[in-house]
Amino acid sequence: MWKVYKYTLIDLARNKFVGGWLLLLLAITAGLFQLEDQPVKAMLSLSQVLLALVPLVSCIFAIVYLYDALEFTELLAVQPLHRSKILGGQLLALSTALALGALLGAGLPLLIFFPGGASLTLALACFMLTLVFTAIGALIAIKNREKARGVGLGLVIWFLFVLVYDAVLLWIMFAFSDYPIEPWIVPLAALDPIDLGRIMVLLKVDLAAMMGYSGAIYEKFFGNLRGILVAMAALAAWVAVPSAVAFKAFRKKDF
């Protein structure tokens, strides 16, 4: 696995897109902090941009890269290697490259311009979302033969998580506002990885508002570090489940 990992990473290190992603994030981060008079405002704007952009880019890049590497993957598959090691190496290399891009492009400058727990949490959320959406992208690439279809599906899934799911959630809140649905809202939000990342950041920057609830589940959940740990665990599950399905599909895949 480490051999595949190493050479995939060498390939990715020279990939123009990975470098471009890093530079784009650097430009956005530095630009926002230069432009905004209030660092906290820059940080909040950045969190919105990153929480949308990181999943999109991770997912689409993973899909495109794996499609483009299909013949090479085939070449690896006829070598005396277990398939799980091939995908393991590729997935890990993709995650490493994209996560490094996110952490160096956004995480590090964030901590420089706006040191503190909020930036650290946002960097952590970006890191986890990179892993989640790389895994989802890999799953899509393995399950679908056509590149255009795969990319389209990636976009649909991203759109679902970044906007549609929240709209449905809001609709549920309206529709069932006469029922005791309060305890269900946070668990429902946890079904969307982007929401999880966002809630992690909220727990740092909007804790005061979060504490404005008598609902027991909120107090329990929003108990500061505990909430972040719970969100991290849920995000880890969001990495594990698509990865597991991807490995299973890859093992059974016909090239």
Binding site: A52, D195, L202, Y213
Partner: protein, 422 residues
């Protein structure tokens, strides 16, 4: 000396009187070497206007009643222990000064307002530089005029539940009080005023009190400046009062379902100027207030910066900074008779083509999401999502649900307070 017989040797031993003239005030000294009853005995012995020096040591004498104008000065913070019998010091005479004592041992009671220092119907009492430890009420004044309460450290017991706590500084029907540079922690209310007029509260620190850091009702013409209220269970509550002046106070980290940086209820003619509100669930709640000038305040990183009820009128917000709040403004209706003018809003996305420092298009501080959230408080989990941003953007472009008149026509492009990392 006219002392009761059993006390005579004691007085001879410990209470040294200097006579500088037949009618001049004397100074008595009370030391720890002899058995109980020394302080009470000295008080009984002293004539009005005398001074009693209390040397370092422990004086566990139960309630000590001071019924004549005396100055009692502690040396090396002597400990006065009320042994849980009721009050510790009970002052019923004017012109009493208590300085440099450590006071403890009140009785927790549901019936009596037992206090470390209780002042009843006395004028010009001065309580300075004392420490009050784990008292029920710490300092309790009723019907007192022109008292000075300065530099006291008042520490409750953090382990006690609210039902066994009482207020740190409690004033009822007082006037002309000065409450300066005290620190009050772990009581029920830090400072409590009821029917207190023409008073000044300056430079106090009120921390971790499990109800209000400052709580006042029916108290007119009072001013509050340079105080810090932090981590109190419900923040600060100001009710049924008028002509209140609050400046340069800090309201920090008062968080919880019903916690407020400051809660205004039925307040008229208020000036609230240059205060700092940081990290509160609701920084300022305005309920049924008239004629409030809120200017130059900083609202940073609060859940709700201002919650303005529609029963408020003529509340004017200007030159305030709103930054990093989850919601800048919330309301339960249409608070049209109030104005926002020339504030800095970090959510403002307008431009300043004429370079006059104020934006060329108005800012609407009440967002659609804030209104949704009023109906369904749990919707807060969606804050800062793409969905709610789009909702708010759309509402700002084509206002349809938020009140038309509620806008800041001259939003500042830069905060009047400059940069801050808070």
């Amino acid at each position: 000396m006219r002392l009761a017989r059993p006390l005579r040797p004691l007085a001879a031993l410990l209470a040294v009187a200097w006579a500088t003239g037949p009618l001049a005030a004397k100074t008595w000294t009370v030391g720890p070497a002899a058995p109980n009853g020394k302080l009470a005995a000295a008080v009984a012995s002293a004539a009005p206007k005398d001074t009693i020096r209390v040397l370092q040591g422990t004086y566990a004498e139960g309630t000590v009643r001071i019924n004549k104008p005396l100055t009692i000065l502690g040396t090396g913070m002597p400990l006065i222990d009320g042994r849980g019998e009721g009050d510790v010091l009970e002052i019923t005479a004017s012109d009493v000064t208590i300085r440099g004592l450590r006071i403890t041992g009140t009785k927790i009671s549901n019936i009596n307002d037992n206090a470390g220092i209780k002042v009843i119907a006395a004028d010009r009492v001065q309580l300075t530089g004392n420490q009050l430890l784990r008292c029920f009420f710490a300092i309790h004044l009723s019907k007192a005029r022109n008292p000075l309460i300065e530099g006291n450290t008042i520490t409750g017991d953090p382990a006690l539940p609210e039902s066994q706590r009482a207020n740190g500084v409690h004033l009822w029907q007082c006037t002309g009080a000065s409450i300066i540079n005290n620190t009050i922690t772990d009581h029920r209310d830090g400072i409590y005023f009821e029917f207190v007029t023409d008073s000044h509260i300056n430079g106090n620190t009120s921390l971790r009190n499990n109800r209000y850091g400052l709580h006042f009702m029916f108290s007119n013409r009072d001013s509050y400046a340079h105080n810090l209220f932090q981590h109190n269970g419900a923040g600060v509550a100001v009710m049924y009062s008028k002509e209140v002046d609050m400046r340069h106070n800090s309201f920090i980290s008062n968080r919880g379902a019903s916690a407020y940086g400051i809660l205004f209820k039925e307040i008229n003619d208020v000036t609230i100027d240059s205060n700092r509100f940081t990290d509160n669930t609701t920084a300022m709640l305005v309920d049924g207030c008239n004629r409030m000038e809120a200017k130059g305040n900083e609202f940073r990183s609060n859940g709700w910066a201002v919650r303005l009820f529609s029963n408020a009128t003529a509340c004017n917000f200007s030159a305030n900074t709103f930054a990093g709040n989850t919601f800048d403004l919330a309301t339960n209706g249409n608070p049209v008779y109030n104005t926002f003018n020339g504030n800095y809003w970090d959510r403002y996305q307008g431009y300043d083509l004429d370079r006059n420092g104020t934006g060329d298009v108005p800012f609407r501080p009440l967002s659609l999401f804030a209104m949704v959230n009023e109906r369904m408080p749990y919707a807060v989990v969606l804050s800062r999502s793409l969905l709610t941003s789009l909702m708010d953007q759309a509402e700002r472009l084509i206002p349809s649900m938020t009140p038309e008149g509620l806008a800041d026509d001259k939003p500042l492009m830069r905060p009047p307070h400059g940069k801050s990392h808070l």
